[in-house]
Amino acid sequence: MNEDQVPLRDETLVAYIDGELGAEERASVEARLSRETALRERCERLRLGMPPVAEAYGALLTAAPMARLQAGLASAIATTAPGARPGWKGLRPAAIAAGLALFALGTLAGGVAPTVWSSFVATDQTGEAGEEAWRDAVADYVGLTTSQTLLAMRPSSDQLLTDLRRALAKADVTIDPNAFRLPGRSLMRVELYHYNNEPLVQLAFLDEENGPISLCITKRAGPVEAPESERRKGMNIAYWSTPTHAFMLIGRAPDEVLQKLAADVAPRTGGPAPPG
């Protein structure tokens, strides 16, 4: 049978393009390509139609939430080490995943170990002072949150209040939970983390126009600072501090929106009002 009558399938053309054919088969494909215009055209379209997948996935690599992945690894090492708490070691991954999801629901009750928020960022990666490093770590984390994340799992308002009270108590915040309301934004979730061995509380609000806005609090002795603004990891941040705690509002909302909210909330947290 004349080989030209045997249809040459895309599989073979693609394998040819990818350099996956043996010498003999490659020579045979090349011979046909030199004779058959339609085949040559299809081969070219398959070759040129391929988007730069390697580059695109390379860019994705840089978007990995390293601080949290490293924290996860640290916790995996701790839980699998000989003599680690038996309750974790035998858990199937699905159960672990379920545990994470449960935690994300804002269920702080029942002795669930708080997620350990990595201190790698603080010390190893940025080289920044602790003052700024916590905002960097938060920006890393909060940048992953979308409106869908917040809408996916929504605790009841009673649950939220319970979570909030508990989380604030862990961080030694004695302010009335109502002080943390953001006008016009719904509180969707409360989460408790550890950052540099101190509790870190995140109140995730949903702003209908600008997506998630988080109010984060960590225990930290330091100077009193009026709200200031900055930009990190593509997020806008307004931050201030009291003698005992550091606060930040973070989101993709415009700087002026966050500044306005900060001016409103900061005095209620015991922080100074912004100048002017």
Binding site: P7, L8, R9, D10, E11, T12, V14, A15, D18, E20, A38, L39, R42, R45, L46, L48, G49, M50, P51, P52, V53, A54, E55, A56, Y57, G58, A59, L60, L61, T62, A63, A64, P65, M66, R68, L69, Q70, G72, L73, S75, A76, I77, T79, T80, K89, L91, R92, P93, A94, I96, A97, L100, A101, A104, G143, L144, T149, K233, G234, M235
Partner: protein, 168 residues
């Protein structure tokens, strides 16, 4: 005898693999939280089974196999039940902190096209064209014949090139 070496190799090699594991998790699940859960579960299982790893062989491939098995056996069904939709590639890349360079705009466009491919094609495209596996390596990683790798890639490339089925 091998076991101590294996565990040590896993322990010391894991940190450098986290980003690519996460990326594979994104390819598999198209969902960021699930991808992170997958990395976490993979780390736990790899450390538990470190003794089974042969030091000197490719740790990345071994970890990928673990993640894939966790995805297929434990998480995928749950994820499908939750009705996890497409991850918008914009969402995945938007937090990289650097301003949106041309490269990133292109990357987002490409990812959003590729991530729309059916799971089997998407994974094969990723392993061969992003992870640089040969057809034979991809076939082994996916436990499928090489012919299936070829047909998946051909179908994916035809789709990405905006072509119909085989031009025959």
């Amino acid at each position: 005898m091998m076991s101590e070496d294996g565990l040590e190799a896993v322990r010391s090699g894991l940190p450098a693999q986290l980003a690519s594991l996460w990326r594979y998790g994104i390819v598999l699940s198209r969902h960021r939280q699930t991808a992170e859960d997958l990395v976490q579960a993979t780390c736990v299982r790899a450390l538990e089974r470190g003794a089974q790893f042969t030091a000197g062989t490719r740790l990345d491939r071994w970890l990928f196999a673990i993640m894939r098995s966790i995805w297929l056996n434990d998480l995928r069904a749950a994820r499908v039940r939750q009705g996890g939709g497409l991850v918008d590639a914009d969402d995945v890349l938007v937090f990289d902190g650097i301003t949106h360079t041309e490269t990133n705009i292109l990357a987002r466009q490409v990812l959003s096209e590729v991530q729309k491919l059916p799971e089997a094609q998407r994974e094969t495209v990723f392993l061969v064209y992003a992870e640089g596996m040969s057809y034979a390596e991809a076939a082994q990683a996916l436990s499928i014949p090489i012919g299936t790798v070829m047909s998946r890639l051909a179908a994916a490339r035809a789709k990405l090139a905006g072509l119909g089925g085989d031009g025959v």
